[in-house]
Amino acid sequence: MIELENIAYNYGGGELLSEISLKLAPGSFHFLTGPSGSGKTTFLKLCYGALTPTAGSARLFGQDVRQMDRDGHAMARRRIGVVHQDCQFLDHLPVADNVALPLTVSGRDSLDQVSNLKELLNWVGLGNRASALPPELSGGERQRAALARAVIMSPEVVLADEPTGNVDWEMSQRLLQLLVELNRMGKTILIATHDLNLIRTAKHHVQARVLRISNRKLQLAGADL
């Protein structure tokens, strides 16, 4: 569903990533790790088409990113749930509306979705925070709200950028558990993190592969973790 073929990316001052090839198979679970500034976020952006590779070809759901127009990108985003490191919300709308926003903008917000929304909010543990405004949420609550928003369209892929970056260990495990559950439901998961404990914990629950960015290249990390 996401295929990167020998891609490179540079922001203008030398290449940040080069010779990267990756095929995300349906139902797979990947971790992406590497030191800060190694290009994890850039890599994720290449995966959901927010950036276009400067060399090589990236294909989303069989379509070349370079050939997609702005509407095409919008359509691809509906099939890829993204949880950002610093999740942005519409601060004037309550959490429930923010989580339901992908349905709203794609014209799929119908009445039967309301009960789904409630269920989803309970699932991420925000059932009693539905009417709060995003600025009133704690870091962990924001991450979970972002996760709920990322999965409400039932996307085929969920990309998460340091989803546990701002939360304590207990909350990290809860978020991880939610992502593992999604994977069991058949979603493809890619999590960028530098938290090795998180990766170790995950390995008890799910068949996860670990990708590491080092020296601008993507490597499959061994069993040394």
């Binding site: 950036l51 702005r70 919008a74 985003r77 942005q88 004037h92 926003l101 903008v105 917000d109």
Partner: protein, 300 residues
Amino acid sequence: MTLLNALSTVFIGDAQADRVVPPTGFTARLTLFVAGTMAFLAVFALALSLASGRLAKRWGDELAQSSTLRISAPAGQMDAQTEAALALLQGTPGVASARALSNEEQRALLAPWFGPDLPVDTLPIPQLIEILETDDGYDAAGLRLRLQAEVPGAVLDDHTRWRKPLERAAGRLRMLGWVAILLIGATTAAMITLAANAALAANAQVIAVLRLIGARDSYIARAFVRRFTLRALIGAATGTVLGVGAVLLLPAAQPEGGFLTGLGFAGGGWLLPLLVPPLAAIVAYAATGAAARRTLAELA
């Protein structure tokens, strides 16, 4: 987008789409104010154009088909020269009728200037002859030459030297009114573009979030376009009502007041201001749509 689609977008809209952009109290009021002011001014420019148009037509019609012959002669020759002039005019092709004005008529003409008590009989007032032309008109130069030969005391005034500058002035005034309306429309578009750009810039984060979760540009643009179109419509409607009210309060046209008191609408002209609010809305729709498309295309 078809017209029907555009209308349904603006009027029925999508309550949710409207909510995704945070409400902006202050700039909203400014947009309303601008639309209102511009509509108010447009109503006046419209009134000016229509009134000067009517004026030009009236002057043209009244003065075009008539001219005046003035005979100044010593008291003894006055009647003879008048007779001679009338006879000559009768035989001139292009003259439909010629008639010497009576003393009472001449006095009425002079009354506004000298008062009603003027003893006209005692003054050496020239005799006026009113000439009505046929549609083809007569040859003024030829008539002047013949009059010179046969009625030396006669001066022909075919009104051209009055009519032409007045008609031209009224025509210019009307054109000025239309230019003003065009400028008002362009200014409205410019101001709404500025306001829309400011709104789009202020909501950059909202737009980024919407793009991230898969909103299409058209959806995002719609939220802004609908807002500004409705504001322009409401503002312009208010401004139009106030403008028409102000025109109604102007004194009605009076014969003594000349053209200034004729400023306003007549008959079907009263319907024209009704076009101002929809036109303002169309201008706002186009301006905001263009601004939104331009801004969105620049985003990643």
